[in-house]
């Protein structure tokens, strides 16, 4: 029944993409299909003109809130930031050994990872075209390293294909490309494309197909040195006697098509996941920490906002001081940049226009779950020669990501043991106690890596719908809701303006949060200068 309306069938498309490659890809597709614009960031913003000593209270010390605070302070504003957590960063967050995390419902986990190992429960990779966050990392001294998205030697896996045996991405990609190229070459030579392709172009097309599809001189894709140059060998080249390589037998196109493993290839083609991607050395949380160092003493932690009221002369924010047993306090300022997630803001009394209030209430928050699993040794490197990258599966864990750092050095390691985004499995994992979640992730992962059963040491799990400071992962805009409400959400309403990934066309990405904040404070500043 969900497929009977056009709106839902479009949503369904994203769900199918999500089903095959993980939900982040579905989000990615959403941004790409609708709005393929590159990041408009062109360098540090300049807030020229007199800020007149105006004060701004900023709600939320995530990347959006801290971007606003840093840039407004630089422009001469008196800024103060209220933050619910006892640390900066918001969803920019790394869990390390010794960290204690209590989720909604009261379950507490103590992360038992060894020194240097971590899980990024929220954002974990940065595309090369997210110019703003890359520039801030550069300016604030956050060291980046490559994040490996595509590893040809990682796996594509389905419980129902190839007897549940994981397949190397290299084999599926080379054999799919080769099989399709051979088909197309055959059709070309039979004249089936005569109406569509000129004779001259057909000759070029055949050469192109041979090149990208690894076809042999007869335009066949079959075991031999041509296909082996793409898919690798059954027996690798060596040195000395008996060193000659042996080409492997490609997987037939029928088997690849019916296995559905080709669905996993899309995650390497999508714009947001293309090479080069980055991660901060030591965990994504290093970015939030670096932002906070720019505004020492400006962030008040343990402050739970409970009301936001404005009038002609200013904004009063009522908050509970959690360190003082919830004592009610007030912060006043001339202006307010509210960077709280809509999941929180929609529950707080705020006197903005009906239209903005409707917009605040219009955005459901996605359910997402991540798992960090520590193993006694890096068996994926030692046994399987998988150095970074992601294996995709149709099991409820959806994916396993291997660490993109400390390669080939032995020792322990932490895998991202699963990452679900929307869909039933996200809700089901969320409903389990953390220990049960981790247990399930180990059981599912063992279907791909049997070493899990002997090498697993400890794990943590973050279900975003149970995260006390967000009650969800990210704003899950539908196209219809965006059309009806997005513009209202982004207006300056009296003395209040919103910022965050939810006020961007790059939802669920840190870049969206930063660009949203920059746009909001530029407009706010213009208003102050003109007033």
């Amino acid at each position: 029944m969900r497929d009977t309306t056009p709106a839902l069938s479009r949503r369904r498309l994203f769900e199918i993409i999500g089903a095959s490659v993980g939900g982040a890809a579905a989000y990615q597709a959403m941004t790409c299909l609708g709005h393929a614009e590159e990041s408009p960031y062109r360098g540090p913003i300049k807030l020229d003109g007199d800020s007149k000593g105006a004060s701004v209270v900023i709600l939320g010390a995530g990347l959006a809130g801290m971007t606003a605070a840093i840039e407004l302070e630089k422009a001469g504003y008196k800024v103060s930031v209220l933050e619910f957590n006892l640390r900066p960063g918001g969803r920019n967050w790394s869990l390390r050994g010794g960290d204690v995390y209590t989720e909604l419902g009261g379950a507490t986990q103590t992360c038992e990872f060894d020194a240097g190992l971590y899980l990024n429960p929220g954002p974990w990779r940065i595309p090369y075209h997210h110019y703003a966050i890359l520039d801030y990392c550069h300016r604030f001294g956050v060291t980046l390293e490559p994040f490996i998205q595509l590893n040809h030697n990682a796996y594509l896996h389905s419980a129902n294909a190839f007897d549940g045996k994981p397949q190397r991405i290299r084999d599926i990609k080379a054999d799919f490309d080769g099989g399709v190229a051979e088909l197309l070459a055959k059709a070309t030579k039979k004249g089936a494309l005569d109406d569509a392709v000129s004779t001259q172009d057909q000759a070029i097309l055949l050469e192109a197909l041979r090149s990208v599809g690894a076809l042999d001189k007869d335009f066949h894709y079959r075991a031999g040195e041509d296909s082996a140059a793409h898919r690798g060998y059954a027996k690798h080249s060596g040195g000395g006697l008996g060193a000659e390589p042996i080409a492997g037998e490609p997987i037939g196109l029928h088997d690849i098509l019916t296995s559905r493993l080709w669905r996993g290839l899309q995650s390497f083609l999508l714009y947001d996941f293309q090479t080069t991607m980055f991660q901060p050395v030591g965990g994504m949380g290093r970015i939030g920490e670096a932002f906070a160092r720019q505004i020492p003493d400006r962030i008040r932690y343990g402050a739970k906002v409970v009301a936001i009221q404005q009038n002609d002369s200013g904004v009063a924010v009522t908050f509970e001081d959690l360190a003082a047993g919830g004592a009610v306090r007030a912060a006043r300022a001339d202006w307010c940049v509210c960077a709280l997630p809509l999941s929180i803001l929609s529950q707080i009394p705020v006197n903005v226009s009906e239209r903005m209030k409707s917009a605040i209430d219009a955005v459901p928050y996605a359910s997402a779950v991540k798992f960090g699993l520590q193993f006694s040794r890096r068996f994926w490197e030692e046994d399987e020669h998988i150095f970074g990258g992601i294996s995709y599966t149709d099991l409820p864990i959806r994916q396993i990501s291997y660490p993109s750092t400390n390669f080939n050095a032995g020792g322990k390691g932490v895998l991202l043991g699963g990452y679900t985004f929307d869909g039933p499995n996200s809700y089901e994992f969320t409903a389990m106690p953390p220990a049960e979640r981790v247990k399930r992730a180990v059981e599912f992962g063992a279907q791909i890596h049997p070493q899990y059963l002997t090498e697993f040491e400890n794990g943590v799990s973050v279900a975003w719908s149970r995260v006390p400071f967000t009650l969800g992962c990210a704003g899950d805009w539908s196209d219809e809701a965006r059309k009806a409400h997005y513009s209202d959400l982004c207006q300056i309403d009296g003395r209040i303006v919103l910022a965050g990934e939810h006020a961007s066309y790059i939802p669920a990405w840190q870049e969206g949060a930063i660009l949203s904040a920059l746009d909001a404070i530029q407009r706010l500043h213009k208003r102050v200068v003109a007033s």
Binding site: F84, L104, E428, A431, R440, S465
Partner: protein, 143 residues
């Protein structure tokens, strides 16, 4: 608001719902297979509630409080209106996603009937799969 149904029918309905919740013990729920694809595989109100709703509203229906809160479903007078809870499951409310999108009509009806007869709630009118189907049609036809 639904008109109150005949007491005899209500009695039978509660008996059936009660029986299903007794039959499903905690251990069997925990070992239940997870859903495949993008529709919930859980059947019956108790299983749906524990594997879906409880993630946020908690297994005892008491909700949770952080920077924001998840409303309690226990002793909830708003549940007197079956239309209200139906509209939330099918359309979402604020940050709550429309989880009924991933359920059949019968599943939505089952979990609504379960919540409205447990956790201190005792609303005797029963929601049917046909009611949910009609509500979906009404929602889809809104211009």
């Amino acid at each position: 608001m639904k008109v109150a149904v005949l007491p005899a029918i209500a009695l039978i309905a509660s008996a059936v719902i009660g029986a299903s919740s007794v039959a499903a013990d905690d251990a069997s729920l925990k070992s239940a297979a997870m859903s495949h694809g993008w529709e919930f595989g859980e059947q019956g109100g108790v299983e749906l509630f524990r594997n879906v709703c409880a993630g946020c509203h908690q297994v005892d229906g008491r909700g949770a409080v952080g920077a924001g809160r998840y409303p309690r479903l226990a002793d909830d007078e708003k549940l007197a209106s079956s239309e209200f809870i139906t509209s939330i499951l099918l359309g979402g409310l604020k940050a709550m996603p429309p989880v009924g999108d991933m359920m059949s009509d019968a599943q939505v009806a089952d979990v609504i009937n379960y919540v409205r007869t447990h956790f201190g709630n005792s609303y005797s009118d029963v929601v049917s799969a046909a009611d949910i189907s009609a509500a979906r049609r009404r929602a889809a036809s809104v211009p």
